[in-house]
C-alpha cells in the first residue's frame, strides 16, 4: 500500500513580501504618482491608497488578516522616524514597508499580514 503526502504550499499560507511590495507600489503610483502635495487632497489620497492595497490583498485569497498603514508627508526638511514592533508567529506572519517619494512628498506604506 502506498502512502501519499500532500504538503501545504508555503506560498499559500505564508506572507510573501515580493507579492505585497508589488501591490503597494502599484497602488501608490496610481493614486499619487505625478501629483504635488496638496493639503486639501491628502486625506483622500491616503484613504485611496490604503483601500486599494487592502482590496488587492484580500483578492489574493489567503487565510490572512491584514493591516495597511500609510503615511504621507510634505517635503519641507522636517525629520521623520518610524518604527514598529510585532508580537506574532514568525513562521507565518510578516510585514512589508515601501518608501516612495516624488519632489513634493514622501509616502510610506506598511502592510502587516497575520495568518488566521
Amino acid at each position: 500500500m502506498d502512502s501519499y503526502q500532500i504538503d501545504e504550499d508555503p506560498m499559500l499560507t505564508t506572507f510573501v513580501v515580493d507579492e505585497v511590495r508589488k501591490i503597494i507600489n502599484e497602488a501608490v503610483e496610481s493614486v499619487i504618482g505625478g501629483n504635488v502635495y496638496q493639503h486639501s487632497r491628502v486625506k483622500q489620497w491616503n484613504s485611496s491608497v490604503t483601500e486599494q492595497c487592502l482590496s488587492q490583498l484580500s483578492k489574493l485569497g489567503k487565510p490572512f488578516k491584514y493591516i495597511v498603514n500609510c503615511i504621507i508627508m510634505q517635503k519641507t526638511g522636517a525629520g521623520l522616524q518610524t518604527a514598529c514592533a510585532c508580537f506574532w508567529d514568525n513562521s507565518t506572519d510578516g510585514n512589508c514597508a515601501v518608501k516612495w517619494e516624488n519632489e513634493s512628498m514622501y509616502c510610506i506604506v506598511t502592510v502587516f499580514g497575520m495568518a488566521i
Binding site: 491616503n46 504621507i72 510585532c86
Partner: protein, 117 residues
C-alpha cells in the same frame, strides 16, 4: 496635526482600547517626556517606545497578536497625514492610536491587536 484619523473599537469583551491607551501614553512619557527633537537620538526613541509598549501589552496575558507602530516627526510646519485600514474580525480585533506632542516634535503611536483563534 491636521486631518488625523482615529480608531477605537468601543466594545467590551474584545480589545480594551482604553487600557492600551494608558499603556502607550505612559511609555511615550517615559521615553521622550522632557526631550527636544534630536536627529541622533530619534532612532533610539522610536525603538524604545515600540519595545516598551509591546512588552507591557504582552504582560496583560491576553490571547492576542500585537503590532505597535510609532512615528516621530520634528515640528517644522510640514504637513503629515497617516491612515490605517484593517481587514480582520471586527468583533474580536481592535486598534488604538495615541497622538502626543511637545514643543519640538509629534509622536503618533498605533497599537493593533489581532485575536488568536
Amino acid at each position: 496635526m491636521p486631518g488625523m484619523e482615529e480608531f477605537h473599537t468601543g466594545s467590551e469583551g474584545s480589545f480594551n482600547s482604553d487600557e492600551a491607551d494608558n499603556i502607550v501614553k505612559e511609555c511615550i512619557d517615559n521615553v521622550v517626556g522632557g526631550d527636544d527633537y534630536s536627529q541622533s537620538q530619534v532612532n533610539k526613541w522610536t525603538a524604545s517606545i515600540v519595545e516598551r509598549c509591546l512588552t507591557q501589552l504582552v504582560k496583560m496575558g491576553k490571547p492576542y497578536k500585537y503590532i505597535v507602530t510609532c512615528a516621530v516627526m520634528q515640528k517644522t510646519g510640514a504637513g503629515l497625514h497617516t491612515a490605517n485600514s484593517c481587514y480582520w474580525d471586527t468583533a474580536m480585533d481592535g486598534s488604538c492610536t495615541v497622538r502626543w506632542e511637545n514643543r519640538t516634535m509629534y509622536c503618533v503611536v498605533s497599537v493593533f491587536a489581532v485575536a488568536i483563534a
